[in-house]
Homo-oligomer: 222 residues x 2
DNA sequence: AAAAATTTTTAGATTTGTCTAAAATTATTT
DNA sequence: AAATAATTTTAGACAAATCTAAAAATTTTT
């Protein structure tokens, strides 16, 4: 049925998927950076993945996963995120420490295992970082977007869009280091003026106005 | 702190441990058989494990794990059995199907992960097959031995010893395929004459007398 | 549009783990 | 104790994944 890929191949597939999400076409050096390897190694693997019909690749002109490559990437990401969810909710590990372990667990690829794990965890829609978990068919769940001020306290989520794209807004977002894809959570709300204390990953907590929060949309499951 | 071993090295270590449990000295061909590989490959790996100071090895004269090799083996076995326990009790998989998956999971070697998994599972003393789970210090738990007739119904266990070593007894044990290390469980007891219907792995169910059962000892946790 | 700089690919080596076939050693028969 | 058989090791090759250094192609600068 489904083809087996080596651990190394899986890591390449996953990285290409992540990078092409933003730029559509991926180039050799950025992938080498992302995987902490050398450009020459990337070229070698690209040839291999091409013969396995997972990507479109024209020498010197970049590459991208085709449909079956993307499908495979989503299967790997699904495993990764389910394990992260398990590590945090069942074993009580901290989010910021689960990634490395999930990176190893994701390569254990029994379909039955993953289906059962998913059920056991209650078919979660997002991982502990707020990233959506693809379903069994490799489809990303359609997540509701809510303004940041409606996100439950301390619940981690991912910034999905920003409604007001004025210069002033962008300047402020930039200042706080908030962008599409940022991991974010609300630590506290101040009823007095509707402002919120928030935390963006790898940055100190800060306070933003209620008006700003109303214009920052984040994913929320269910 | 603790040295990391490759997946392949870990598989060799584990197999040697299993084989030397029975015969103390292990020979090249039996290890090759056990690992489904060739004698030449075994010799290559032996050299490697010797330089890593995990085993005593004299050319042409067999080999055995030394203390640090045994310790490493027990760490791997601990991981394997904890994962088997998880797969059966939490994910509801069948015993006879968990081995292959645990075989992959056991190589994920974060100490923190295993400590948490152990706690989460309630620090089990035996895996679902009845095999004891080494503790965090690599020590096999001292398990109580009970006669087979006192083992709870349907609870899987491992034959630990046989009290009456008469020829007649041995003949019968042989006939049923029961030996030290056999995985066994009691399906049913017949009050009429105290006989028991039992199941030994990979063999059809059979019935033995109450007297026989009293002389077959098995491990029981707690 | 040449020259310079950057990016990507190729060529050839290296490491890990495996294999086959042949040689060396040990064990068993006669 | 020689001859034969079985086991184990060595020698040399191979595949996967990586690397360095050099060559080729593309992009940017002047």
């Amino acid at each position: 049925m489904s083809v087996k890929f080596s651990e190394s191949e899986e890591n390449y597939i996953k990285s290409i998927y992540t990078l092409q999400g933003k730029t559509e076409k991926v180039n050799t050096n950025s992938l080498a950076d992302h995987l902490n390897t050398r450009a020459a190694s990337v070229t070698d693997m690209l040839k291999k993945l091409k013969t396995k019909k997972l990507l479109e690749y024209k020498k010197y002109y970049g590459f991208r996963l085709n449909d079956s490559g993307k499908k495979e990437a989503l299967r790997i990401i699904r495993r990764h995120r389910l394990w992260e969810f398990f590590l945090v909710t069942k074993l009580g590990m901290d989010w910021d420490k689960v990634h490395a372990i999930a990176e190893e667990l994701e390569h254990v690829s029994s379909n039955d295992l993953i289906k059962r794990l998913d059920n056991y965890l209650g078919q979660p829609k997002t991982d502990p970082h707020g990233d959506p978990i693809p379903d069994d068919n490799g489809i990303m769940p359609v997540l509701k977007q809510v303004p940041l001020n409606e996100l439950p306290l301390k619940k981690s989520s991912i910034v999905s869009s920003v409604s007001s794209q004025t210069n002033q807004m962008m300047e402020m977002l930039n200042h706080y280091g908030i962008g599409i894809g940022s991991q974010i959570k609300v630590l506290k709300t101040f009823d007095f003026d509707g402002s919120l204390q928030i935390k963006i990953s790898r940055q100190p907590a800060c306070v933003i106005s209620g008006l700003a929060a109303k214009n920052i949309f984040v994913y929320d499951d269910n």
